[in-house]
């Protein structure tokens, strides 16, 4: 089957069975390997992308469902200047260790900050509750999101 997907601001045509996971299409067909596969069951958030601005797990969305929605991956977020402070804050705070969960963490953080520019700590914990990190213990990630929120909201 042929599907037309709207990914990171571009329309792309892919050949895939309708039951192919969005995750596999992104990684295998389109080479967008920033999106990671962790559990493949919606528990870890490593494959998180935005669908019409909402955080979803690309392992639980099929290509036939993704058609007609605007998909943004970590590559799309990384290309937007407004999210630069988010990446910087993660690096500055030492919030990244092995890095495998990072694309999903950043996608979850970006979805949260779009809704709540200056989230409380409880809101950050809630916003990132679907993303597992096995290295950092989360503390530095929370600090990074807080710092990024302040900078983005104040425009500095």
């Amino acid at each position: 089957m042929s599907y037309t997907l709207h990914i990171n601001g571009q329309l792309v045509s892919v050949q895939a069975p309708g039951t192919a996971r969005l995750l596999d299409v992104l990684r295998e067909e389109l080479g967008l390997t920033g999106t990671k596969e962790g559990c493949g069951e919606g528990e870890c958030g490593a494959c998180a992308v935005h669908m019409d601005g909402q955080l979803v797990n690309a392992c639980l969305v099929l290509v036939c469902q993704a058609e007609g929605h605007e998909i943004t991956t970590i590559e799309g977020v990384a290309a937007q200047a407004r999210w630069r402070p988010l990446f910087d804050a993660f690096v500055e705070c030492g919030a990244v260790q092995c890095g495998f969960c990072m694309p999903g963490m950043v996608m979850a953080a970006a979805a949260l900050l779009r809704e709540r520019p200056r989230p409380s700590e409880a809101e950050i914990v809630r916003g990132l509750s679907g993303n597992l990190c096995r290295c950092t213990g989360y503390r530095k990630i929370i600090t990074a999101v807080q710092r990024a929120g302040e900078r983005i909201a104040s425009g500095s």
Partner: protein
């Protein structure tokens, strides 16, 4: 890459859907995918899937003639944020707000949670205490069943072959207060060990009507009817909440499984019912912090 090389259909209307389904009787319906796709991961050959994503008749929340109608493919996010749901089914809004995690709430649907028919399904106790009706549709027409009769056991419902859940309808009631409380291993992404929804109608501090639903402590969600009757005519003070909790726990028939053990579940049933009743009475629950 997993073994998903199957066929998927994306009908836009119920009529189209039933047409496709008639030609593919072994097909499975796919709503949000947060349960079904996880289960299919372990399956080598997928059945054909009919994605409900684009069926417009299955989307939307509205008030019609004294009823709150929630179409089946409404997501948890939509339930949590909808002002009608918040006003007329607050326990359901509360359950939807805390289920899973953000990415699950964006995709998981009310109809999917009902079709999955887990005794631990978070949306179910709130529907029990709201006296909800489930609207089922097939090519032959529609029928309605009370939510309390819809489930037959774990994973089992009244749904006939080629019949789907198209909506849930809740009577709009005035003067009721509701609460939902759940207990899991952690706050996010966890299946409840025990869940409780309560609804009470109180006049001059005295309970006129009560509903108590218990999740994950029997083969289906159940009502604690003896405790409900006992509550009527009483003032919702701390002692009453406590005694009603103990009475409700007697209705539970929990099992021990990977998530918890029967005795603990029964004990927590009493605690959660007390908490929920304390909350609707306006008292601060024991486990709520200042």
């Amino acid at each position: 890459m997993n073994a998903s090389n199957g066929v998927a259909f994306t009908p836009r209307t119920c009529e189209e859907l039933f047409g496709v389904w008639a030609g593919q009787p072994e097909a499975r319906l796919l709503a949000g995918g947060t349960d079904l796709l996880v289960r299919l991961k372990k399956v080598a050959a997928w059945p054909p899937l009919i994605a409900l994503e684009r069926v417009s008749e299955l989307r939307g929340i509205q008030c019609v003639n004294g009823w709150l109608q929630i179409r089946a493919c409404s997501t948890y996010c939509e339930l949590a944020e909808d002002h009608f749901v918040q006003a007329y089914a607050p326990a359901l809004a509360e359950a939807a707000r805390d289920v899973g995690a953000p990415a699950i709430r964006a995709r998981g649907t009310l109809g999917g949670n009902l079709a999955n028919a887990s005794p631990a399904g978070d949306s179910i106790p709130p529907l029990y205490v709201a006296d909800a009706l489930v609207e089922l549709r097939s090519a032959a027409g529609t029928r309605e069943v009370p939510i309390t009769e819809f489930f037959r056991g774990p994973g089992q419902t009244l749904l006939q072959p080629q019949e789907l859940i198209c909506a849930v309808r809740l009577p709009i009631r005035r003067g009721w207060r509701e609460a939902f409380v759940r207990l899991g291993q952690r706050a996010a992404l966890t299946i409840a060990k025990v869940s409780v929804a309560v609804a009470v109608r109180v006049e001059r501090d005295v309970v006129q009507e009560a509903r108590i639903a218990l999740g994950a402590v029997a083969p289906t969600v159940i009502r604690a009817r003896e405790a409900e009757v006992w509550l009527c005519g009483r003032r919702l003070d701390e002692k009453t909440c406590e005694a009603a909790g103990a009475a409700a726990a007697r209705a539970a028939e929990p099992i021990s499984d990977i998530r918890s053990v029967a005795d603990y579940r029964r004990a927590m049933c009493a605690v959660l019912v007390r908490e929920a009743l304390c909350r609707v009475s306006g008292q601060r629950g024991v486990h709520e912090h200042a």
